[in-house]
Symmetry: C2
Subunit: 430 residues, 2 copies
């Protein structure tokens, strides 16, 4: 007898099949038992008719509990009222484990409790939908770059130096040395872009920020493209294209999950390129007009970003921030050296920064000067300086935080739901 | 004028285009300069005719050095003798940086020197070919699982507990706690398999092994599928299918790179399913016959694996090792409880283990017993035990080390060439 996943039931109409999964919910009406079976690929209603079972068997089925593991055999038939379009007429079943006291019930639970039971919470339909969308977002990123001929070159997690300052680094003993966990693959991307032309890395990154905001995780995934001979404008177009590609994929392939989340899909559907481009100067004026006390020269706080991102229905690209508020490697604008050829992309609906990037300094002397100004020791950056000695050229790229994109697309209130096992200030369990 | 990558030159025959890249090599013959331009996507020979340039310009071109960054304009024409099928007639050029003293020359260099200059070594054709194959292998893994309806669920890097013992863990301060860097996503996969049915994770993993062998890296990438309701046999088939899928992709799409590496392609082409299945018992007998001193009950060393893997032209699946030499979570064979329902896949040509996996214990009491036998504290495993309390079912999966697969496919002598920035016992630079 074929063993079938719920998502493939349509191919087996009228044939006796076996499904294997867990009891998601159950109700009975005298002669009928209705079991919602979930197997991770979908949920199907299985209907057992009393007349087909011994009284003991029917009683057993009546008592089966939420999240019991169960094998059910029977035939699927079309049912227009069912969410998946099919129901299963139960011919037999085998309970593998009768679950007792499953902690997550349909009633409301507090966040701390759900986080403590994250390994089980993932089985609920809302978390399931978010992580299916996460998979789609990550696959879209890879396909977008692969289809354009980028080479995936994974950058290391253990690094001898800090990309954006040393205060927010996780440190580990590495035999007789110290190693730091990467905050970004960018510096390494610059080396590989000179070898492969256009590259991306896509892996976990780490920031030891003592921050409890809804926008921060200690461990998060970033996709980071880097292109040799690219300009700020090139990288802005690449970022815009990526976001549109992801949205299209999710809207096409994960509409059902957006509906589970009760996301207003029309808001996402209205987004199309080109995204508004706003200079930092203009952004500051808009923030001031909206009541912010920001002055030219200051970095945007989360609240400032929200002010901007609430004014637009599509992502906004804010470019040319003052060099002083940005990382040491940012290329100055030749026409206005006090600003950098950089861009942040802010997601709409108040979500704020999802992408940061720009052109990198390609001149050896300027880079050396900046390293010194930032008080960074030269030795661990020797290889990075080498890139400016041996065939340097303008280059640009960006980093996109995956959880932030997912939070925006799914309209989550906190990043912690955008990853299977979030690592927050006080939590590394489960 | 269109700016074109070398790999796309064929679409621009006879049209004036600009290429941007680096001088890979150069020779001249009086009236002609031949510049091999590499841009990361390919290498093309650019031919400059003296009559088309001023004496100063031609002199400049004559003096351009290896790895100088350069823009070249001109028209491409078919040339059957060229590796890419095209040559470019140079109409103009602009040198962005004349490189001085590029450290990696066509002469032989020692490994330590090359590793110290890994950021530049990646530009050489051999390293370029290996990492293009790496990208293909990783993409093949993802496509294989995605196409079969697996959900990618990334597992955390920071963990509160150790999957396979505590001696080889990297540790970090995590605010007021200690966190360990993951050695495997498997335990978490078991949680997500119960939520999504079939899952995989694919990320970096870490082992602090004081080992200098050619088969070990401190940081390496693993792809790990896990399937609810799967048996050992299911997981062996899944592993076999994955390896065949990867080989097919590399042979189809990365043949040129295998040729750069002078790999004997016919050896790879001859591999087809089903792979030989060998019980541990049989494997021990074969090893003994080949001169090993191994006794039943012992784990295989690298040398033992080599003995087996040299006897076959395809990967070999060795199953049912003694439970005692395997991790605490291995499901015992019900017909012979002293052996585990596990499998190691050994690559041929002496490469040894590339995959390890099997069925996991799904019984609560047995798992508890094993945790205690292994001296592991229960508290950090509470969530893992929960999976045996709430709808437990047989399940199986495996982990495949990406660098080991790449080393085998590319026939490398050391894993360090299979990753862009290898982390070995004494090296975290660059």
């Amino acid at each position: 007898m074929p063993v079938v996943y719920v998502e493939n039931v349509n191919a087996y109409e009228g044939i006796e099949i076996t499904l294997r999964g867990w009891v998601y919910n159950k109700r009975s009406s005298g002669k009928l038992q209705f079991i919602l079976l979930r197997d991770g690929t979908g949920i199907i209603q299985c209907v057992a008719f009393k007349g087909n079972f011994s009284p003991e068997q029917f009683e057993t089925l009546d008592k089966v509990t939420q999240e019991s593991s169960i094998e059910i055999t029977g035939k699927a038939r079309k049912d227009a009222r069912s969410p998946g379009g099919y129901e299963l007429d139960v011919a037999g079943f085998r309970i593998l484990q009768q679950t007792e006291n499953y902690p997550i019930t349909p009633k409301e639970h507090g966040t701390a409790f759900l986080m403590e039971n994250r390994h089980l919470w993932l089985r609920s339909s809302r978390q399931h939908a978010i992580l299916k969308i996460r998979h789609e977002v990550m696959k879209a990123c890879r396909d977008y770059f692969d289809d354009q001929g980028f080479t995936l070159v994974d950058t290391p997690i253990f690094t001898p130096n800090a990309c954006e300052g040393t205060t927010t680094l996780f440190e580990t003993e590495y035999f007789d040395q110290k190693a730091y966990l990467t905050q970004s693959g960018q510096l390494y991307n610059e080396a590989t872009a000179a070898a492969f032309g256009k590259v991306y890395c896509f892996g976990p990154t780490f920031r030891a920020e003592k921050s409890k905001t809804r926008r921060h995780l200690m461990e998060f995934w970033m996709v980071e493209p880097e292109v040799a001979y690219a300009s700020l404008e090139d990288t802005m177009q690449l970022a815009e294209g990526l976001i549109c590609f992801i949205l299209d994929r999710v809207l096409t392939r994960r509409r059902a999950q957006l509906e589970v989340l009760e996301r207003d899909i029309s808001v996402l559907e209205r987004i199309s390129p080109p995204f508004p481009r706003l200079s930092y100067d203009e952004a500051v004026k808009r923030m001031q007009a909206a009541g912010s006390e920001i002055q030219w020269g200051g970095d945007f706080g989360g609240g400032d970003e929200t002010l901007i991102s609430e004014q637009f229905t599509s992502p906004v690209m804010v470019h040319r921030y003052p060099s002083e508020v940005k990382a040491f490697y940012m290329q100055p604008d030749p026409e206005r050296p006090e600003v950098a050829l950089c861009v942040d992309v802010l997601a709409p609906e108040g979500y704020g920064e999802i992408i940061g990037g720009g052109q990198r300094i390609h001149d050896y002397d300027l880079l050396m000067k900046r390293l010194k100004e930032h008080g960074l020791s030269i030795e661990p950056f020797q290889w990075y300086l080498d890139l400016r000695k041996f065939g340097t050229a303008p280059h640009a790229g960006f980093g996109m935080g995956i959880e932030r994109v997912i939070a925006w697309i799914c309209k989550l209130t906190h990043l912690r739901e955008a990853i299977a096992f979030p690592r927050t200030l006080y939590r590394i369990y489960p």
